[in-house]
């Protein structure tokens, strides 16, 4: 089914950033094509079962939760709360919104379907991208070529940078943030949702590893009740590895852990088998080199930019060791500015980026990579790319 399509802009990747980029751009009237390699929108929030929206709320937890980025981040928050009935939760020094990956897939789909000038193509990946010298771009996909004036890379991996020969930022793969593998069990006794029980569970897992009943990888497993009654999510951080290795490790781990819990705890006797994520929750790969590279210092010091287009509110959450997350909070509990230049290519006019592949250092990424912030950078990149193609926000 070869066909050539003309659009004002193309968005690569339908995760939290790409979704918001495409919808925000389409709302200006621009004709947008969004290509997504999987079968659904939502990225890590659906495929990887990441079940909390982080980075949505103002960092001052002495105040009631307040959305820091208007527009689509606020819309998605409202839609999710209406579906789950769950509001923001204070976890230590941050607010998060528990989210249901299945509900998010529908919310994302409905947001996209509501835009008449947005076309979503599933199961589509780029095989080549050419252009960038002022005459627009051609994206080659298995489903035909897409000609567009502006391009948004929301691939999380700066996929377009490689095709266009642009500079990518990265650290050595083994220094990358660790990835997460998430699975859930349903039909769990409600007693298992209590915090006290979950602590006993965590201790049992640690003892199980020490006794050789569980693989070493099970050690860093956190469990959290889902917004779905009777469901618990299990999240395990894994050492950096290729996606297929992470997936294989994760599936074996889910199998071992669910069997272990069923043997040890009557609360799990009637539980389902493991319901694994379709993909590992990768936290870091490659980023674009933009007109500005956002640093941890910018975020921590609350540096303001003349071209601020989005706000980061999540602390710098480094997950580099088996000991779990290391959090660095902003110096003052206020949202930190993200400049448009960090979403704009320094080398190729008409290229914008959003989400996990924005122009940021390894440390700054550890704050801006979360979904709440990806909604915001996506929305900002969508508006900027539409403006580049001649469309202004209404």
């Amino acid at each position: 089914m070869e066909r050539a399509t003309r659009a004002d802009l193309a968005v690569i990747g339908g995760g939290s950033a790409g979704l918001c980029a495409a919808v925000a751009a389409a709302r200006t009237g621009a004709k947008v094509v969004l290509i997504e390699r999987s079968d659904r929108l939502g990225g890590m929030g659906t495929l990887a079962k990441v079940h909390t929206f982080c980075g949505l709320y103002h960092p001052d937890v002495s105040l009631p939760p307040q959305i820091s980025n208007p527009g689509l981040p606020a819309e998605i928050e409202r839609l999710m709360r209406a579906r789950t009935g769950a509001g923001p939760v204070k976890m230590g020094k941050v607010y998060v919104l528990p989210q249901d990956p299945a509900a998010f897939a529908v919310i994302a789909q409905d947001l996209a379907l509501a835009e008449k000038s947005l076309e979503v193509r599933f199961g589509a990946t780029c095989t080549a991208i050419t252009g960038g010298a002022g005459e627009g771009f051609v994206l080659e996909t298995e489903q035909g070529d897409i000609h567009c004036r502006a391009l948004i890379d929301a691939s999380a991996d700066a996929a377009a940078a490689e095709f266009l020969g642009a500079t990518r930022l990265s650290v050595a793969a083994e220094t990358n943030q660790r990835s997460a593998f998430i699975f859930s069990l349903q039909g769990v006794d409600p007693a298992a949702m209590e915090e006290g029980f979950r602590m006993r569970l965590a201790l049992a897992i640690v003892r199980g590893v020490a006794a050789g009943e569980l693989p070493e990888t099970a050690m860093a497993t956190a469990c959290r009740p889902s917004t779905v009654p009777g469901e618990i999510h299990f999240t395990t951080d894994l050492d950096p590895a290729p996606r297929d290795v992470l997936m294989a490790t994760g599936l074996s781990l889910a199998d071992a852990l669910s069997g272990f819990l069923r043997r040890k705890f009557p609360e799990f006797a009637a539980a389902s088998g493991p319901i694994p994520a379709a993909e590992p929750g990768v936290r870091e790969t490659f980023r674009w080199q933009g007109q500005y590279v956002l640093t941890a210092e910018d975020l921590i010091s609350g540096r303001e930019f003349p071209d601020t287009v989005a706000y980061a509110t999540w602390p710098i959450e480094l997950r580099e060791t088996t000991r779990g997350a290391k959090l660095r909070f902003f110096a003052r509990p206020v949202p930190a500015s993200i400049p448009l230049r960090a979403l704009t290519s320094a080398e190729i006019a008409g290229v914008f980026f959003a989400g996990r592949c924005i122009s940021a250092t390894h440390e700054a990424l550890a704050s801006v990579r979360v979904m709440g912030t990806c909604f915001a950078t996506g929305q900002a990149a969508g508006k900027a790319a539409a403006a580049f193609a001649g469309f202004r926000s209404r």
């Binding site: 976890m91 230590g92 020094k93 915090e195 006290g196 979950r198 602590m199 006993r200 965590a202 201790l203 049992a204 897992i205 640690v206 860093a220 497993t221 956190a222 000991r323 779990g324 997350a325 290391k326 959090l327």
Partner: protein, 81 residues
Amino acid sequence: MSDLITRIRTLIDGGLFPLAESVCDDTDLHAEGLDSLMLMQLILLLEQEFGVAIGPEDLDRENFSSLTNIAALVRRKGNTG
């Protein structure tokens, strides 16, 4: 007692997460970032360092909510001199 607290502080600071200087003996560690995962790591560290055995009955958030409370737990479990 204060020696014990110093040892626990060093254990957490060196092995789990950096403790700000503002963290005193009674500061709420959960608010400082001690999550359930770190708590399990902390239990393993305490068991190694002090030769105590911490069981499911000790898994009360309150037991781990400050350096003072952790020290009290370790003392209750014995072997701390």
